[in-house]
Symmetry: C2
Subunit: 437 residues, 2 copies
């Protein structure tokens, strides 16, 4: 048995620790019991390949074509535009944040821009900022029929063709989509664009270890380490001797238990780490779209420590008791130089003198957890020793498994999203000028 | 009487339109009646100056020193770092998004970086990316005692001093804080830094028209237009002959009514406009910190159309009926070139051919609103003809007033945040090595 590369502490989710806002051990035991069949189902799906997000962590064969494309893009381009939305974009953004903290990419990497919307103003700004001759494009749509992605790509191809000629498109644009006829694969064919296959069994919000690989490679990140980190969590969870030994099952039981027994309607994911801002946005889709069905589901809320102490904490502490808090720490207590007492010498701030920024960061995380607990709010704490590709991969897999198991406990299908089709139909009718019937 | 520079449509919040998930007209009338005293209180506060966010829109005298500083920074620096957190940062970020869509600032403006956290990894990336000789700093803390801002500034001064010498600090660093003794004002004094006064009566989350002005000026935005837009909304709301004629009162009555009568616990703000992403984050603080008291308050949720159709919409439509949706449209139907049918010629996508990206954007907004309504979810629609400084200023004022009035209806003080003090005390104790008692 391998050990998971993170600590997962749920003690402050129980009534015996935080009082009536917490889960009783009885309710927890019942739910944990229900996780057994969910884990068994996942084991079978891994064995028979029914859920590719469970087999992807141990694969490497699919990385070859992506590495070739990434190497060419890194050599040829200053800017790479990733087109796509939802699950085609959020995983890549979560990974890219490891390498680009908002001050540009590492030396040798292009700037990677994720365009996940159809705001014409943003595209105008993009076109004003980049040199077409030094710009690459990667369009991702599983189905190949996503309206936003097709519109984005049509507009971008129009621009590139006008600037560089049609023949240049095959060097500047590539797509990732299922190997079947679709509007996107037709565009790829029409302009001889490289076409990377999207696994038809891999739903967007479970696709990060596939759709996130090109951005990772562009930014010089270690894709094998991302998958190895995910594989370790998968292995540990599925080989655990019981559900109590599988952190994702424990997390699912806590989440569903608090929702059922304590009217917890919101699940706040609050990392103390800027690089996990987009990870929390990725989680937000995973949890919402997998579970929000037939009146079920809780609302995932992405937060960021310490920033949201100055924005949301008042509500978290003294507003309605309707939230579970998951705080994530990434072990940065040692980082930074000590604050120079010659600069900050006011009597009120003695506590900061000689302390590093990392110590302040870590103390605030700890203080926020303790304060929430003091107010009787359920708090889960996750700790990784250091955020890197391996631990990020581990966190991805933890939450994908937790979500899949929670869906099983709620009795919903984690892998579909039937309600969003209505809006798509209406959009098409509006654009066809049919009005609302 | 002036008319407000936006449309505010709440018809789809009522039971007669959407069924049992909507507010009854009786409950609404009662709440609207309760808005009368709230509006009267705001009128008095504007007259006697008790709430500076109500008098700021018509002031211009405070802009002089900011304009002088901004002009010097624009001339001298390629990068300007704004230090501060919560209300000292979010308003500025919401304004800056008007000018920088993520592809850099307008010609003639420096890059403006908002550092609102104490993540040492982010500061390391900052220092690696900028040239100290070409970098300016603006540190904002109302009290002058915010631990995060002080730690940020101490670390940045340490770096700049090492690179440029102590004498250079007064040209590279300026602060905005209350005119009183504090750790921050002491630093300003110690290094002869320019000190812009922060109005002691202006709470952080109501300070956007003050703390957001330097970022606006750095990016070449029109600060007078921001304030004029806010003034128009203020004027219209406070001069309306009754609460039904004041959009912020209508909004407050809807929000509080749905919370009280329909168990709505979450208020989703979903603009269809990338430039309003940070506006929604700004709103998130305003609403949460003003109302989350003594068990009151609803959770503000920032969303973005169309992106969150591919992330949150499944939950919004088919999850629990616990949300009010405010969709904001910024009139972009005309923008963009038509999609070329030569590029996108698949039979499935006929509806996109010849349409602009702006038409798709607008059709999706309309379709999402109609779909939510079809599922019986309360939807409010706000429309501005065009997003610019004037309409952004209007939206700021609308939501500040709506929040103040909602606090009155809930019986809480909108202007304090007592619960967050506990965590601050604990942080200091951890850093002083006292442990948890």
């Amino acid at each position: 048995m391998v050990s998971a590369p993170y600590l997962h502490d749920v003690t402050a989710c129980f009534a015996e620790r935080i009082g009536e806002g917490g889960l009783t051990k009885d309710a927890y035991a019942r739910l944990l019991h229900g996780c057994g069949p969910a884990l068994e189902q996942l084991r079978r799906a891994r064995a028979d390949g029914a859920l590719p997000f469970l087999t992807l962590p141990s694969r490497r064969d699919d990385l070859g074509p992506l590495a070739t494309l990434a190497a060419r893009y890194r050599g040829a381009f200053d800017d790479v535009v990733v087109l796509g939305t939802g699950g085609s974009s959020l995983g890549g953004q979560a990974i890219a944040a490891l390498a680009d903290r908002g001050f540009g990419p590492p030396v040798g990497s292009p700037r990677v821009h994720f365009l996940d919307n159809v705001d014409p103003d943003t595209f105008q700004a993009l076109f004003a900022a980049v040199d077409p001759a030094r710009t690459g494009v990667f369009a991702i749509s599983k189905s190949g029929g996503t309206a936003e992605t097709l519109c984005q790509l049509a507009v971008v191809i129009d621009r590139l063709r006008a600037a560089l000629g049609e023949d240049a498109l095959k060097r500047h644009v590539a797509v990732m989509t299922e190997p079947k006829d679709s509007p996107l694969s037709r565009i790829a064919e029409r302009f001889s664009l490289p076409h990377i296959d999207h696994d038809p069994g891999l739903g967007g919000r479970f696709s990060v270890l596939s759709t996130g690989m090109l951005p990772a490679l562009l930014l010089g990140l270690d894709t094998a380490a991302l998958r190895t980190g995910a594989a370790a969590v998968l292995e540990q969870a599925l080989e655990a001797k019981d559900a109590a030994g599988a952190a994702p099952a424990v997390g699912a039981a806590i989440q569903v238990g608090l929702a059922n027994e304590r009217m917890v309607s919101q699940s706040v994911l609050m990392p103390y780490c800027d690089r996990l801002f987009w990870f929390a946005r990725w989680y937000r889709q995973l949890w919402a779209e997998s579970l929000g069905k037939e009146g079920n589901g809780t609302t995932p809320v992405d937060a960021l420590g310490t920033v949201d102490q100055h924005s949301q904490l008042q509500l978290y502490l003294d507003g309605p008791a309707d939230k579970l808090f998951t705080l994530v720490d990434a072990g940065m207590a040692e980082a930074g130089r000590p604050v120079d007492p010659d600069i900050l010498d006011h009597p009120e701030t003695g506590y900061l003198q000689g302390r590093t920024m990392g110590e302040l960061f870590t103390a605030e995380s700890r203080a926020t957890a303790e304060t929430l607990i003091g107010y009787g709010r359920p708090v889960r704490q996750i700790r990784v020793e250091r955020l890197d590709e391996g631990t990020l991969g581990a966190l991805f897999m933890h939450f994908m498994l937790e979500t899949a198991i929670a869906a099983h406990l709620m009795g919903v299908n984690a892998y579909d999203q039937p309600a969003v089709e209505d809006g798509k139909r209406l959009t098409r009718r509006y654009l066809q000028g049919e009005g609302v019937s």
